[in-house]
């Protein structure tokens, strides 16, 4: 797997599968389409697991290392120095595996799709290619191309197979992301012309951190580019105030697509910040650190209250995503600096590292728990065809296995110790204390709101004497396929909660490199004359 061919195989296996389906499978052979897609996604998942087994935790930079060079590449468009450059490290590898894992489960959840099956599965597989490409690309240009490639299938998946307001939701999703990517494109051009015609993310990182003699991004470039990139990525995360596409898209999308949206797509925003915006623009990141923390805290609280107010089951889960992704932004932003020997340096580097690792862990944990929550909503929606929280109740008696699994997954989302949601939240909140005790208290109180809306939801849906809503006669226990998906997700949530080192062992080295590189970049920028001032945090 550690060659350009191997990495390309991971990315393009779904595309090849889509082509095979398009050419070989009759559109009426529905069962063949479903099983075929599951098989293709499973093969991709196995490939990514092989990548995981190849991973060398002692190498903190990009892998594979071939002849002393990090990453593998081939020339794509020589005249503009654009390369087809791939690689992975402790930050992208967990996300790659998460992508193929969630895609496989989402393919298994796609039995609920009841029209135009062939088109659905082809687009589904193309979407997976786009997502894997984003996480494996190391050339900014290639990253951008994959980022956009994903838009097209997603638009149709929401717009054709979605709920009643699908067209509105699909175009809103598309417009938001496209607006963000135009901003990203401008930042990309700034790097290209400011960094000696370069799109290589690793090289741009070196330039941004002042490691290349004679080339440096000045303060203006760093701050402007960071803001442009951050908006582009924040739309995807999504954090307040760019989050309004999310409730619509998540609610209208069919269940498996909601799983992918929440489980994988949102992580692209966080990943983009960690891989591109932060390392290339340390000055910009420090300039905006306080804003990031504030945005994170606002998202946590705002998302929580919004979730509390929903009566639509799926919308509630969607807003819980806004709240949970707030921890990701918060954990990344807690970069505190103090003056030392006349220059500003990172104070409490280990706390910041903890926050970054917590943010990263939170992304993985949220990928598992929110995909699970959306799936659980989908299971009951398939039976009773409504999602009104006030018209459920008593499901524990009718669907005991389903309700038990759902309770487990919702507790993972709540952040119960021993389940995956706990680790990320606690690390982020702890590290925030170093940055600003007040904000840490506010962020921690978000946990109470989370507990409030999740417990209230559990009470309204699963507890109670009897089910009073419509279609009571159609409530049947989960079938084996559904149970497999739910059990797999719950097991993952428990494993990550009990043994978080499974992730930390992989990501620690790379995360430390990002943190130290940015600290060094900030010092280098000050030596070249950029004045940095710390924003006093309450």
């Amino acid at each position: 797997m550690d060659s350009i061919l191997g990495l390309s195989l991971i990315i393009f296996t779904p595309t090849i599968g889509a082509l095979l389906i398009a050419l070989l499978v009759n559109s009426k052979a529905i069962e063949a389409l479903r099983v075929g897609t599951v098989v293709i996604t499973a093969i991709t998942f196995v490939f990514t697991l092989m990548l995981w087994s190849n991973f060398d935790a002692n190498e903190t930079g990009i892998q594979p290392v071939v002849d002393g060079v990090n990453g593998v590449s081939a020339e794509w468009i020589g005249s503009w120095n654009i390369h087809y450059r791939l690689g992975y490290d402790g930050i992208s590898l967990p996300l790659v595996v998460l992508t193929s894992f969630i895609s496989m489960l989402a393919a298994m959840a796609s039995w609920s799709i009841n029209k135009l099956h062939k088109g659905y599965f082809i687009l589904f597989l193309l979407l997976e290619t786009g997502m894997l490409g984003v996480f494996l690309a190391l050339d900014f240009f290639l990253f951008y191309v994959f980022w956009e490639v994903m838009l097209l299938p997603m638009y149709f998946l929401i717009g054709v197979w979605g709920g009643p307001r699908r067209e509105y939701a699909a175009i809103k999703f598309f417009l938001y992301t496209l607006a963000g990517s135009v901003l990203m494109l401008i930042a990309m051009l700034m790097f290209y012309f400011g960094g000696g015609n370069e799109f290589n993310i690793l090289r741009l990182t070196q330039i941004g951190q002042g490691n290349v003699p004679g080339l440096q991004f000045d303060e203006f470039t760093q701050i402007t580019a960071f803001i442009l990139l951050f908006i582009g990525f924040a739309i995807k995360v999504p954090c307040f105030p760019f989050h309004t596409w999310l409730p619509d898209a998540h609610v209208e999308a069919p269940t498996p697509i909601s799983m992918i949206l929440a489980g994988v797509l949102l992580k692209m925003g966080g990943y983009g910040i960690l891989r591109i915006a932060f390392p290339i623009c340390p000055v910009g990141a420090q300039y905006a650190a306080y804003t990031l923390v504030a945005i994170g805290v606002i998202s946590i609280i705002y998302g929580g209250f919004a979730a509390l107010a929903q009566t639509d089951f799926k919308r509630m889960v969607a807003y819980s995503s806004v709240s949970h992704m707030g921890y990701v932004i918060l954990g990344m932003g807690v970069w505190k600096i103090t003056a030392e020997n006349g220059i500003m340096v990172t104070s409490g580097r280990d706390y910041w590292l903890m926050g970054m690792s917590g943010a990263m862990f939170q992304m993985i944990a949220h990928g598992v728990s929110s995909a699970g929550m959306f799936f659980m909503v989908g299971v009951i929606y398939d039976r009773v065809h409504h999602r009104d929280l006030n018209q459920f109740g008593g499901l524990f008696g009718l669907m005991p296995l389903y309700s038990g699994l759902a309770a487990g997954i919702f507790f993972a989302g709540l952040g119960l110790p021993g389940l995956c949601g706990f680790i990320g939240e606690v690390l982020v909140v702890l590290s925030t204390w170093n940055f600003s005790p007040v904000l840490a208290i506010v962020a921690a109180s978000g946990v109470i709101i989370t507990a409030g809306y999740i417990l209230w939801t559990l009470q309204r849906v699963y507890l109670g004497a009897e089910y009073k809503g419509p279609h009571a006669e159609e409530i049947t226990p989960m079938n084996a396929r559904e149970a497999t998906i739910a059990i797999t997700l719950l097991v993952m949530a428990v494993v990550l909660g009990v043994y978080p080192n499974l992730m930390f062992d992989v990501m620690n080295g790379s995360m430390a490199e990002v943190v130290d590189g940015m600290d060094a970049g900030l010092r280098a920028a000050q030596q070249s004359g950029v004045a940095i001032t710390a924003v006093p945090a309450p």
Partner: protein, 539 residues
């Protein structure tokens, strides 16, 4: 007497040995026209060889000749230079655009064979007009003299008027043609006046001499205050009006939606791509002639024109996109999209003018490379635009044959009845928006890169263009997506018949749409060709 004889001999030699060789593609097309007209006199032959067949062969030969010329030029087997006593010029740029036009002609003729417009009876007339217009456009692409400038435009326009009216008996079609004629004649008159004014003041009509004469007339004052200066500016503006009409730039765009709606989709495709391409070639030639070899002589004058073009580009893009929102007829919608795209391409020309006039005052800035990038972007854009716009119009024409309507509603739900055809539409539409990995993305990207480069080094106004361009890319999504929304997300109208598209038609659409994807995945070959052409144009 001998001197006259020598002169005559030299003229004949030059004509036979160089000029006619350089003019071979146009000759091939002209011979095809004559053949078409002759063949219909002999009923038996006419029944045996359909007119489209003759046309297709002629167009293919012209395409081959253009291709060989371009290859020869690139391999330096043929020397670029003026021919027909300096009226036309033979160079890489001209060969590229003419090749593009010939390629487009082949594809459009193939489309008309599939759609059955024109019918057998009208075939020779229709193809004669189309071939004639193409010859005119080729002349536009290689014009080296103000006279040919005008002749080319008229030769391209007049057959165009007739082709728009070709749906005889259709009132909308006649109305569209009438509007087109009136508007076209007005614009041509203004332009002709501009040309005569310019020629009168400068004492030359030859494009290569324009700049040196301009420098004398404008003098040291840079033309700001003198009466001659103002007159020259006025004349140049009038010439640009004629071109703006051909390019359907705001505020000379009013004909475009009406004409596209009235004409058949095939003709609309022809007008939107071919005549745009030729007009852009002419605009570039005119602008380069105005700047000349010595940009320091009157930088204010040419910078001003460049900025003016930029302002028009910004308005055109924005207006085109905004007006497209409310359209219910697909051809009208695409007409406004054509207007918007003309604006995008005009941005490249504007940037070119500005950087060539002012770039040399910036220290350490590679003016030639930045200018080449503008040309490269324009040429690449044109090349992709050919496929993506033709593809969109082709799908409309092919669906029209099934649904008998070009209203957006009539496309409801056809996506699932004709998946191959509508997948092609998806590719073309997303390429028109400018999403990777499709060809349209690179066209926009190179232009945006030029704008960025010039904005950060030469003139701040390019920031405005960049922002306008970026914002419009996002806006444009909204109306393009309506086509796809109708095709894939709406239920078919009540009583609409099911669309059943034969596989040959699907294959043709694929032939058009595949290059859009391939140009997006592997743009290197085309960009380096465009770069090579630009390098020759701006050494």
């Amino acid at each position: 007497m001998t001197s006259f004889g020598t002169l005559l001999n030299n003229l004949i030699d030059e004509t036979v040995q160089t000029s006619l060789c350089h003019f071979a593609p146009e000759l091939a097309l002209s011979i095809t026209i004559v053949l078409l007209l002759l063949l219909r006199l002999f009923g038996a032959v006419d029944r045996w060889i359909p007119p489209y067949f003759t046309t297709l062969i002629g167009a293919l030969i012209a395409l081959g000749l253009c291709g060989t010329q371009l290859l020869d030029l690139l391999k330096e087997a043929q020397e670029p230079g003026e021919f027909f006593t300096g009226l036309l010029v033979f160079d890489h740029f001209g060969a590229f655009v003419r090749g593009l036009l010939a390629l487009f002609l082949v594809l459009v003729v193939a489309l008309t064979v599939l759609t059955g417009i024109p019918d057998r009876e009208d075939g020779p007339d229709f193809y004669t007009l189309m071939l004639g217009a193409t010859v005119g456009m080729m002349i536009m692409a290689s014009a080296n003299h103000m006279l040919m400038f005008f002749v080319g435009i008229e030769m391209a326009s007049v057959p165009g008027y007739a082709m728009v009216a070709f749906l005889k008996g259709n009132r909308k079609s006649s109305e569209a043609a009438f509007k087109y004629v009136v508007y076209g004649a007005g614009a041509a008159g203004v332009m002709l006046y501009g040309i005569s004014l310019l020629t009168g003041i400068l004492g030359t009509a030859s494009l290569p001499d324009l700049a040196s004469h301009l420098a004398i007339v404008l003098g040291d004052a840079g033309g700001a205050g003198t009466a001659e200066g103002r007159t020259v500016l006025f004349a140049v503006l009038m010439v640009l009006v004629g071109l703006a009409f051909k390019l359907s730039l705001v505020p000379f765009h009013f004909w475009c939606p009406d004409v596209f709606e009235g004409a058949s989709a095939e003709v609309a495709a022809f007008l939107s791509v071919a005549s745009k391409g030729a007009a852009f070639a002419l605009l570039v030639r005119f602008c380069l002639a105005l700047v000349g070899d010595n940009p320091d002589a009157y930088p204010e004058f040419t910078t001003g024109i460049g900025l003016g073009l930029g302002a028009i580009a910004a308005v055109t893009v924005t207006f085109g996109n905004l007006a497209a929102y409310s359209q219910t007829n697909v051809k009208r919608l695409l007409a406004y999209s054509t207007i918007a795209h003309a604006g995008f391409m005009l941005m490249a020309v504007s940037a070119l003018m500005v950087v060539m006039s002012k770039g040399s005052s910036v220290e350490g800035f590679d003016v030639a490379e930045a200018s080449r990038m503008c040309i490269e972007g324009l040429l690449f854009y044109l090349f992709v635009y050919l496929f993506m716009n033709l593809g969109a119009f082709a799908v409309i024409a092919l669906l029209r044959n099934q649904t008998f309507s070009e209203e957006l509603d009539s496309f409801n739900g056809v996506g699932w009845q004709a998946p191959a055809l509508c997948t092609c539409m998806v590719l073309c539409v997303f390429s028109l928006v400018g999403l990777p990995p499709l060809g349209g993305f690179w066209g926009k990207l190179v232009i945006f890169m030029s704008l960025f480069n010039i904005a950060s080094n030469v003139h701040w106004f390019m920031w405005v263009l960049l922002v306008v361009g970026g914002a419009n890319t996002v806006f444009s999504l909204f109306y393009y997506i309506r086509i796809l929304k109708a095709m894939f997300m709406k239920e078919p109208l009540e009583g609409a018949r099911t669309v059943d598209v034969p596989s040959t038609i699907g294959n043709y659409a694929l032939l058009i749409a595949l290059p859009v994807l391939l140009l997006g995945l592997f743009p290197t070959w085309t960009t380096s060709l465009a770069h090579g052409v630009a390098t020759w144009l701006i050494p």
